[in-house]
Point group: C2
């Protein structure tokens, strides 16, 4: 019988408590054994103020799930890999594409797994969409990813700080799905970035992307949505429209709803992490983060009214 | 005897006339046979208004040197590779890192060379600096790259447009040298980006970079320099300071000036391009462009007074 993978969560905020903790609890051969966070703790688990204290004084662990804001991720990942722990990076995997290559090399040198996770890729309709579209000629893609930042990111000031990505924090989920369901790599052509006058990251963005065949891809991201929320990718194909709806929970082929399931992203994500650690592999796809970096580099900036949380 | 490589220049602005044309003239087995530009021409050469017209109506060519602003580069490169021409990209190689992978694939499929050139790497002191530093322990790097945009880029409005890079247009030259002379890959940690209120690209920037060993690298770029211009990289090492001065023309090891030569970057660059085409290889190092994209993504923006040319 295989021993369970002993995991510590570093950064015990919303995503850790709502998604990682229950997902680990539901994953066989995985056990949550400690938490590191400057403030928050879990009543049943050993608690440490940071990763260093955990590595020094904590129970034996095999892996860490890094769930703190992205600005802290690289240093934590480097320390964990130096201590020969497997590393799961929440998305986005960092604040710079260039910081990942040294981490990949460190994981390889330590014989440990580095997993730059993209939870939206584990939504139930994503793989069926990929399979369906592989047999079609796609002629146009339109992404609409609009959510209310006050509902989904209350009090998360870091999200509007440099390296916090602003509306690209949810928008990168759409890009992680897009780069999974299309066969050809896409690149950024132009971007409009909407910055509130009092914030360091965009609250909305419009991107034009393409592939080598000239496929037009338009993406509209907005954090100012109120009322119904929209997480949709619509593809026009030579045999009719294909739509991924509700953040990857539903798949429509023309008028037909062919997938409609609960999301359950994080249990699937942890099953993949376990498979990676068992096989001694890493999985670091930088394409979504690259598209964001490119959008910032070539984007036009617009300043709008201040945003107060 | 080998036939010369027949080259057309696309985009006949400053850099093409001052550097590419004389460099090709001085390169054996290379011949400039045509120019494509919406306005400018050369009295002795067939002239076409754009690459499409050149490919359709022009003389036989083997290669194109793409010297138009970066916003036009990807589409021109794709068209040239589709016509099975070797491609030399002026720096920066594009406005998005993500646009390069499809071009590399297209070059491979066409059996042609794609050369993302970094002219500053061909400055005479760069390779000696690389060799010298390979034997040292570097403890700190400071880059100062300050030039007067009115002197060096007169009337080049594109440089302050999205995708024009602003002060990163010269700054990326420093980054191309840095990523050549250091053994370890560097990544971006933070950036301050100074935007004039009336411009879409930064006029100055301060970057903090590092490598996996924690080497501190500071870079200061400024387009507002008047008087003496500064293009310097200073390294502190365990055996004293090493300095690359005058944009890579001079190398100092402590108090000793060990290289002091004319720049002659472009003839060396074309010799490398010829070697690549002869060997059927491509050379596309994206590290400098990646550092710029990362700096835009994680940088903090500051708005300063308007800049008038």
């Amino acid at each position: 019988m295989t021993e369970p993978l002993r995991i510590a969560i570093v950064g015990f905020g919303e995503i850790a408590r709502r998604q990682h903790m229950p997902a680990i609890a539901r994953t066989s051969r995985a056990a949550l054994v400690a938490v590191a966070d400057p403030v928050r703790s879990s009543p049943d688990l050993p608690h440490f103020r940071d990763l260093q204290a955990l590595l020094r004084d904590g129970p034996e662990i095999d892996a860490v799930a890094l769930c703190a804001p992205p600005q802290l991720r690289r240093e934590q990942a480097a320390a964990a890999l130096a201590a020969r722990k497997h590393v799961l990076l929440e998305k986005p995997p960092g604040t710079a594409v260039s910081e990942l290559a040294p981490l990949v090399a460190a994981a390889h040198a330590a014989g440990r797994t580095l997993f730059a996770s993209w939870h939206s890729r584990f939504a139930p309709a994503v793989e069926p969409a990929r399979t369906l579209l592989a047999g079609r000629n796609i002629t146009k893609v339109a992404i609409t990813w609009k959510e209310d930042v006050r509902v989904w990111h209350p009090g998360q000031a870091w999200i509007f700080e440099p390296g916090g990505f602003g509306v690209f924090d949810p928008g990168i989920n759409a890009l992680s799905i897009l780069t999974r369901i299309l066969c050809e790599p896409v690149f950024a052509k132009s971007a409009e970035l909407i910055f509130p006058s009092n914030r360091a990251a965009p609250i909305a963005a419009e991107l034009e992307l393409s592939d080598q065949n000239g496929l037009p891809v338009h993406a509209a991201f907005d954090f100012r949505q109120t009322g119904p929320q929209t997480w949709e990718i619509h593809c026009e194909t030579d045999t009719g429209p294909v739509a991924l709806l509700k953040g990857g929970r539903q798949l429509r082929d023309g008028g037909r709803l062919i997938v409609d399931a609960e999301k359950e992203e994080y249990p699937a994500l942890y099953r993949h992490f376990l498979a990676l650690t068992a096989d001694g592999r890493s999985d670091v796809d930088l394409a979504p983060l690259q598209l964001v970096a490119d959008s910032f580099m070539l984007g036009r900036r617009h300043v709008v009214e201040a945003f107060e949380d």
